[in-house]
């Protein structure tokens, strides 16, 4: 299936693809979601969610080690028959397509809200789909390069946030576990949606240059994601009062409004525009993977055609209808549940199945 050697992705690219999908859009509301559930203790949920997602990541890699040269679909077809592979390809395709649509939608809503309130959304959709198409049609290798490049391009962003510490109040974080452990645990589900994305491993695994390093890479990328989340969340928590943070939809953008430089006021304006780069780390890989799933079902290798169809359908549909913030939130919730079942539950079941299968086969061989 994936015999096109040389089209491989390095460890660093793999790390950044995963982290990119995880961080991109979901970071915007994460501090608020955590504060909603557990007040200023919400940040404690981040490491807990981290442990869960690392575990899920290891399971995914473990599954893929059973088919190092194939995608998950080939593996499924081998194990359970062609229909299983196709079904799962369809499911994964739908999942990533909605993931892509959700993040594109969110990016457009935010751009409209903060920068261009009167611009037609379909224009923005067209604009954003142009680079998407260019990157996604070239496949995993260029995808990896893009994620990597954007990460290095955005390395200055965390430093900008340091300027907000001027008005920070460390006292906001105390006391720890103010309402006990329960609220913290209730904040953990808020961490699940922002951790989604590891399932890309199912598709990218055959392209990896160092397959034996995949678990380490997953660990690194999850840690990177966690560090970013922790950093941003704590910055927001010490800046905003615990009583007011839940009033902001995108606290991590609102916080930037308070930064002033001599040469530029309102740093959040160029920042939101630049943030499109980071958002694109979610929808560009998902666009590729969704296109790959569809082309796999139809037995073709070329992803350009499904991509073109996606782009055209999404553009045309955005001409008539684009979900609002509330609808987008609901879509996000729905994707979150779908994601949990695909990224956490399904790999576990599959791994158990594979192990049992092997076990029985050995027995029958005996």
């Amino acid at each position: 299936m994936t015999s096109n050697t040389g089209k491989s992705i390095t460890s660093m690219q793999y790390i950044f693809i995963i982290s990119g999908i995880q961080v991109s859009v979901s970071i915007l509301s994460l501090p608020r979601d955590l504060a909603d559930a557990a007040g200023t203790d919400g940040w404690i949920a981040i490491p807990i969610g981290y442990i869960l997602s690392v575990a899920a990541g290891f399971i995914i890699v473990k599954v893929m080690q059973n088919a190092p040269e194939d995608t998950i679909f080939d593996l499924l077809s081998r194990l359970m028959g062609a229909w299983a592979g196709k079904c799962f390809a369809l499911l994964l395709g739908v999942y990533f397509l909605s993931f892509m649509y959700d993040s594109l939608n969110r990016a457009i809503l935010i751009t409209k809200d903060w920068l261009l309130p009167n611009t037609q959304p379909y224009l923005l959709m067209i604009l954003l789909l142009v680079p998407t198409y260019i990157v996604a049609k070239h496949g995993p290798q260029i995808l990896g390069r893009y994620s990597e490049f954007v990460f290095f391009l955005s390395i200055w962003i965390p430093f900008i946030y340091l300027f907000t510490l001027e008005n920070a109040h460390g006292l906001h974080l105390l006391p720890l576990f103010k309402e006990g452990v329960l609220p913290v645990l209730s904040a953990v589900p808020a961490m699940l949606y922002p951790s989604l994305g590891m399932v890309t491993t199912f598709i990218l695994y055959p392209h990896l240059k160092n397959k034996e390093k995949a678990p380490i890479n997953l660990l690194i990328s999850n840690s990177l994601t966690m560090l970013i989340y922790l950093y941003i969340t704590i910055i927001c928590f010490v800046y905003f009062s615990p009583d007011e943070i839940t009033l902001y939809n995108e606290p991590i953008v609102s916080i930037l409004k308070s930064i002033e430089f001599r040469f530029i006021e309102r740093i959040e304006v160029p920042f939101i525009a630049f943030y499109l780069f980071i958002f694109s780390l979610a929808w560009i890989p998902s666009a590729y993977i969704a296109a790959f799933c569809i082309s796999w079902i139809s037995g073709k290798k070329d992803v350009a055609l499904p991509l073109q169809i996606f782009c055209i359908v999404i553009t045309v549909s955005s001409f008539f209808f684009l979900p609002t913030f509330n609808q987008n939130d609901r879509l996000g919730l729905w994707i979150g549940w779908l994601g949990i079942s695909i990224e956490y539950v399904f790999p576990l079941c599959l791994l158990v199945y594979i192990i049992l299968n092997k076990h029985f086969q050995q027995r029958t061989a005996l």
């Binding site: 390095t10 660093m12 690219q13 751009t111 920068l115 261009l116 611009t119 224009l123 923005l124 604009l127 954003l128 142009v130 680079p131 260019i134 990157v135 070239h138 260029i142 990896g144 390069r145 893009y146 990597e148 490049f149 954007v150 290095f152 391009l153 001599r262 040469f263 530029i264 006021e265 309102r266 740093i267 304006v269 160029p270 939101i272 525009a273 630049f274 499109l276 780069f277 694109s280």
Partner: protein
């Protein structure tokens, strides 16, 4: 080697006859209406054979013909045996039998000697066409580097590179391109360094060409580049032998096109367009500073006018209050929207630049005066353009002058206009989407199959030593990995120890 096709050359495979009486009409037939063709009949003293010498006037070195061919043939008496090797003092004598070869040889300036009774003719190396002296390169001047630029003669150019790399691993592949032009294209590379795949890809691409003539390196590069629709140059062309030699040492191929004073370097990366041979002869700290300056200048030259448009027409909230008042006052009297203002000034700038390039130097100064005083000053006083816009345009122009490579500057000019349009339509969002598309395009570009964005995308940290910064030379022990060289190390330890000092 591409054989010339039938319709262009008659009787190409026909061999020559040994009878001079048949040969002369044949030549006259072949070169009808060719007034610069000279046919000189003579008798060879050594053997007493009749002979004719044919050459094209002006393409051949007449002194050499007189001194090294006519004189020995007519005055030297050898053993007197017919069929002996003839006494001539030219450096290279090639016996040929087919008319096709003779024709090419004649057209390239060699002279051909037919001897009665022999069924082969002799191509004598007496080429000598009009040639200029070696001069300083025009486009790529250098402060500290050599002051030799390439010439219009391929052989000389090869020689100039060989002077820098006297090594037998410096190999060449010779390809002749063009049905009519018969241009000699030579690929130079270091056999034990350069990836053989690169050489074969390049050779194959050149061999496949079926064109009339290649007059210039630029034509060749357009015909063989990976992405002809891209705005970005995918090969470096240079007119400096030292640059070419340095590129060969880094594991790249250099393509010399005969008759063109610039050579082509492949494969290259985006960052090679920011390097300059002077970087390596100045102190590394200064070279690093200049590198960073160029990269900054690239961004300014690409984005500044678009940024101005975006800020003034969409995002004036980011302007600090005092600047806002100044800017507002200067914009307040301009009757055009910012986009029209910017496009007008940018096009004026492009015109001034183009005028300056084409005009002879004494007239060229007038352009500067007209541009500087009339357009720069009067336009602001007349209230047609805001003075901030003039500053923006001037700064953009200066930044684009810093970039060392002409092709890249040309790309920047076009991209600037695209971004200006995007910025005028969508403000910062348009700008960012433009940048995003540019990056997406850059990272998917390839130069001779090698990633164009390296070492930035894919990230190759080892190559960063010569990208944004130029580390001291003794730290650059390896050749850049972007060319996948066979031999990676290029030098040993050159750092002087304390005791050595």
């Amino acid at each position: 080697m591409i054989e010339p096709s039938d319709n262009l050359l008659l009787n190409q495979s026909e061999t020559i006859s040994s009878n001079l009486a048949e040969i002369i009409p044949h030549i006259n037939n072949l070169f009808s209406d060719t007034s610069d063709l000279v046919i000189r009949k003579l008798t060879i003293k050594q053997t007493g054979e009749k002979a004719i010498l044919v050459y094209l006037d002006g393409l051949s070195d007449k002194t050499a013909i007189n001194r090294d061919v006519m004189r020995p043939l007519q005055f030297e008496a050898g053993s007197g045996e017919p069929g002996d090797e003839l006494i001539m003092t030219v450096s290279q004598i090639v016996p040929v039998t087919s008319w096709a070869q003779i024709e090419i040889a004649l057209l390239q300036g060699s002279s051909v000697l037919f001897v009665s009774g022999r069924s082969e003719a002799y191509v004598l190396d007496t080429q000598g066409w009009p040639q200029r002296a070696i001069e300083d390169p025009q486009l790529e001047t250098s402060l500290k580097g050599a002051h030799q630029g390439f010439l219009e003669t391929g052989g000389q150019n090869i020689a100039m590179i060989r002077r820098y790399i006297p090594n037998r691993e410096l190999k060449m592949k010779r390809v002749i391109v063009g049905r009519r032009g018969q241009t000699v294209v030579t690929i130079l590379y270091l056999a034990d360094v350069t990836d053989p795949n690169l050489v074969s890809t390049l050779e194959l691409r050149i061999q496949k060409l079926d064109v009339d003539v290649i007059l210039n390196t630029g034509e060749l590069s357009e015909l063989i580049e990976d992405h002809p629709f891209s705005l970005f140059p995918q090969f470096v062309t240079t007119e400096r032998p030292d640059t070419a030699a340095s590129q060969i040492m880094q594991g790249r191929c250099v393509v010399i096109v005969d008759r063109s004073p610039s050579v082509l370097v492949a494969p290259v990366t985006f960052m090679s367009f920011f390097q300059n041979i002077d970087d390596y002869s100045t102190r590394w700290s200064i070279a690093t500073f200049l590198r960073l300056l160029r990269i900054f200048a690239f961004f300014v030259a690409t984005f500044l006018p678009a940024f101005y448009i975006a800020v003034v027409s969409y995002h004036f909230e980011i302007i600090p209050m005092k600047l806002l008042l100044t800017l507002g006052e200067s914009r307040g009297q301009v009757p055009f929207p910012p986009f029209v203002e910017a496009i007008f000034m940018e096009i004026t700038l492009e015109m001034l630049r183009e005028a300056g390039v084409r005009l002879p130097a004494p007239v060229g100064q007038t352009v500067g005066i007209v541009g500087g005083i009339v357009i720069g000053q009067a336009i602001v006083q007349a209230g047609l353009i805001s003075n901030v816009m003039v500053i923006v345009v001037a700064f953009t122009a200066i930044c684009s002058f810093i970039l060392p490579n002409y092709d890249m500057v040309a790309a920047v000019r076009l991209i600037r206009f695209i971004l200006m349009i995007l910025a005028s339509l969508f403000g910062f969002v348009g700008l960012v989407v433009g940048l995003m598309t540019m990056i997406a395009h850059l990272i998917s570009l390839k130069s001779l199959g090698m990633p164009y964005g390296s070492p930035l995308a894919p990230v190759r940290f080892v190559d960063w030593k010569d990208t944004f910064i130029r580390v001291p030379l003794w730290l650059m022990k390896k050749r850049p990995t972007s060319t996948k060289p066979i031999q990676e190390m290029r030098q040993g330890n050159n750092r002087l120890k304390e005791d050595d000092l």
